[in-house]
Symmetry: C2
């Protein structure tokens, strides 16, 4: 590679138990969720986004957040992250002893209203209250900026707006941010530019990139983020987690495909790919349908085939 | 982007009518093939690999090569390429007035024996005979180097071997080469290195990259090839063209997904994406199954959705 900013190690946050299962129509039984998270915990992943402390009415598929957090085995070296939408969620999360809280706001107000019933400014006000609750707890607070690369309703989201939201989040006391391509609209040039700009303003800031593969660009965008200094990636086992606005389209960047790409390039992920693939193989039975991940179907690039006896052109 | 070698324009060669239809079990009627190629001809693609002048016994699905070449409308500005495996195929291709002949050899001898019944040296001897036939015809002769990034039987294929084959091809009089990731084993670092090395040795040489998306890295590899000076890409409408060794895995890089990525980045392809997507929409009915392309399902990144009436977190 010709790039200067590339790092020899990256850290992966698997969001399948939260972002993936959240939109599944079938309720995955609590014991199955625990089994999935426990399998992920033994792969060497840096983080797992385990559940969401949201209202059971709003997201019934994750109504068992407490049982999940209390049922899983907490493996040393893995940070267990939960999504928290409001003050009550923060209190529930702290009571479960989570390692990290992930807040979500949308850079686009029309998306924020549709998805969270809040504009970015309203989300920021709420975050101030949540940070009052987490203060002194030692829990890391991250904020995910949805639609950072474009909004399915409004279209373009100016970089200036994303940078200004980041600035406000940091002023509130948020410790890390995630730049989210919520509906898979980002292209590599845009990813390169926003990652570079963000890291040049806040070189000390833990910046995660959250990508979707909706238009096939997931790994290309991950690659270019890495080329521009990003070392933290959200990804989802099996590529679980679709986009509600594009039926039939693939969702989140697939964890095992992302790990496979980096490991093949000689970039360490800390993840045991065989174990990760074994975890991905649990998914179809658990959720009742096939998943978009490729490596689980094709095998790794190191896979060798026996020579065919005869073969034609 | 931070790269120096990037170009503002790329050229796409759609290989679906040959590489894609070749492995379909259902014979696509000649008139349907002609309709597909004619649709592609009106999209602005630089080249179309239209058929293969191989033995009808070896590849029955392309047994209508002459009828296809005589039936299509030859649109000015589009180069019509055909695959040619031997001397007889070259004569048949010249009789049809093709613009370009594509020869194929394998960098890995075990893959060459399995797939072509020839080692690389044996292929090179045959190419010498074919070039005798094409001499003076004005037809451009390209050679595709299969398994340039790895062999499904042998594993690693050393760069030195690929570079030495390129050298021998050029000594024979071949005018362009394609570096082919035949079974989707390439990773971005490898693609960057081989493209850079090839172009630094032969800066004047038209080098095409032929990628598969078998392990999800298709567009990432295309991006990195472009970052390292490659401007010519093979791709297949709908992502048609699987890998016989990996059932269920996706095949060639999808043309409309590749065009979409480049156009979103501001890199011109000359292709009218709407027309290309319309052509891709012909495929499922034509071949009897779904295809792996993403943009055709999700729409382009510019697609806007109406605001939902109500929405939950």
């Amino acid at each position: 590679m010709t790039e200067a900013n590339t790092q020899a190690r990256v850290a992966i946050n698997d969001v399948a138990p939260r972002d993936g299962l959240q939109i599944e129509s079938r309720f995955v039984p609590t014991q199955e969720k625990i089994r999935l998270i426990d399998a992920l915990s033994r792969t060497g992943l840096a983080k797992i986004e385990a559940t969401s402390f949201t209202s059971p009415k709003a997201i019934p598929s994750l109504r068992d957040a407490e049982e999940v957090m209390r049922g899983i085995e907490r493996v040393s070296g893995v940070d267990y992250v939960v999504l928290v939408p409001n003050e009550k969620g923060a209190e529930r999360a702290l009571a479960c002893g989570v390692d990290e809280i992930n807040l979500v706001l949308s850079a686009s107000d029309s998306h924020g209203r549709a998805n969270l019933r809040m504009t970015a400014e309203q989300s920021l006000e709420r975050f101030a209250n949540i940070l009052e609750i987490t203060k002194g707890s030692g829990v890391f607070v991250n904020a995910s900026i949805s639609t950072a690369f474009g909004c399915p309703f409004e279209g373009e989201v100016p970089f200036k707006r994303v940078l200004s939201i980041t600035e406000k989040l940091l002023a509130l006391g948020v410790q890390g941010i995630s730049l989210c391509d919520t509906t898979g609209m980002a292209n590599p040039r845009q990813v390169a530019d926003l990652c570079r700009e963000t890291l040049s303003r806040w070189p000390w800031l833990p910046v995660t990139i959250h990508l979707h593969n909706t238009r096939g660009m997931g790994l290309a965008n991950a690659l270019v983020a890495w080329q521009n200094g990003i070392t933290r990636f959200d990804a989802s086992l099996g590529g679980l987690g679709g986009c509600p606005y594009a039926p039939g389209a693939t969702g989140n960047v697939c964890s095992e495909d992302l790990v496979h790409m980096f490991e093949q390039m000689g970039v360490g992920t800390g993840v045991d790919l065989d174990r990760l693939i074994a975890a991905a193989e649990l998914l179809p039975a658990m959720i009742g349908h096939d998943v978009p991940g490729q490596v689980v179907k094709a095998g790794t690039s190191d896979r060798r085939y026996p020579l065919p006896e005869t073969a034609n052109g």
